[in-house]
Symmetry: C2
Subunit: 243 residues, 2 copies
């Protein structure tokens, strides 16, 4: 049977999600725990690569096994073998041929900006703090220019060698809840650092450094130098995967 | 002038709020930072003693100084000298004779119980997890018996030597938000471990081990052995101080 497993993790102490020798990664920790509980687990796949420090409220793995697992008890057994910063939320049987990464039709990311000059002592690992006053409405207006199919080269890390930079953004939204500015974006795929550069650019719109409409010019320029800075990873969460 | 300072802190890595030699305490850290910023700060008082591991979203200090402080900038200077698990939220001038502890007319505590068999990797330091299904309505009904002036001896740590155990509970309420059960209690004062023993007893009502009405008998028994267990400190927050 092919099994899907949904996990949440605090990315603070992980060197990203992919296996890297001698580094603590989400994939490495998950694989170790899974192989303890399901000895023949094979073809283990993750839904995405995440950068160091990025968090996930919804991250899927898939794997194959010949065993008949009790999928109700399985999350508890797996959690008993996982470190506390990764928790299995649920697991279920997947259709044959399911692949956590290639079967995904889209992913939603959420970025949290605390718009305050004082940190919160309980949640400071889970947002980027911006002390300058931000206009969430202007940021939301700016975010609408991301929607659609575009060449997002301006929003890609300089070192990336990807050639086809077209991606389709299904939706993008900026809202304010008290002193927290929340950016949600859903797309069919992402370039390296794409969401973090989008947020850096939206902050420009939020402080009035650019007009919202200028986001269109920044996209069309197809050059990293035109977009805003790459904001830190700790405000970023993978929050949904569309299958 | 007498100054009031409101702080929030994550109690995880503190040995309580009071000064203790060679221990990291909230008072000790605050005092050190304050004396760096306000060299003549004197008569420093805290609103409450908190046990090790208890958190605060609202905790007040008061002190006297001969200096004229810019109270708008003062929180920022103080925060620059404090560790990240204590943050100054605001400060203001207090009336003459104000004392952070003796001027308080009451305090509100909030206790968080996560009613789930799976932990949340982001907030696990800030609740007590109870996997058995809890009936929040029964717990709320039980909590109403706390309201009023009672001898709360049944809800006091065995080792405490306090003689007058009468306290007045102004309000008590249990609500559920998804898988989180939230107990809020406001009283003129508290005995050692009082809120944590109240919560242990409310959990008995939530699982059906006692009927809500039995809380009245437990109070009247005036003996620690009749009440529920002392739940752990990490779910407890001081959330308001009434002046």
């Amino acid at each position: 049977m092919t099994v899907k497993v949904k996990v949440a993790f605090d990315g603070t102490d992980f060197c990203g999600s992919q296996v890297q020798p001698d580094r603590r990664t989400v994939f490495g920790e998950f694989q170790k725990a899974l192989q303890t509980v399901v000895s023949d687990a094979d073809n283990i796949k993750a839904c995405s690569r995440l950068d160091s420090g990025v968090h996930a409220k919804c991250f899927w793995f898939s794997f194959d096994t010949e065993k008949q697992l009790d999928l109700h008890k399985f999350p508890l057994s797996l959690n008993a073998n996982l470190p506390h910063d990764i928790r299995v939320i649920e697991s279920c049987k997947a259709e044959e041929g399911f692949h956590a990464r290639y079967s995904a039709k889209g992913k939603e990311y959420t970025y949290y900006i605390k718009n305050n000059h004082i940190d919160d002592p309980f949640t400071s690992k889970y947002y980027y703090r911006c002390p300058q006053k931000l206009d969430a409405d202007a940021m939301n207006e700016a975010a609408q220019y991301f929607v659609g199919t575009h060449d997002f080269r301006s929003f890609m890390a300089r070192w990336s060698k990807i050639i086809d930079c077209h991606r389709t953004v299904y939706s993008a939204q900026v809202t304010r809840q008290d002193d927290m500015i929340i950016f949600k974006v859903c797309a069919d795929g992402y370039l390296y650092n794409m969401v973090r550069i989008m947020v850096g650019t939206l902050i420009w719109a939020g402080t009035g450094r650019i007009r919202p409409q200028q986001v269109e010019e920044i996209i069309n320029a197809c050059h990293r130098s035109k977009a805003g800075p790459t904001v830190p990873p700790e405000g970023l969460f993978l929050t949904d995967v569309l299958y």
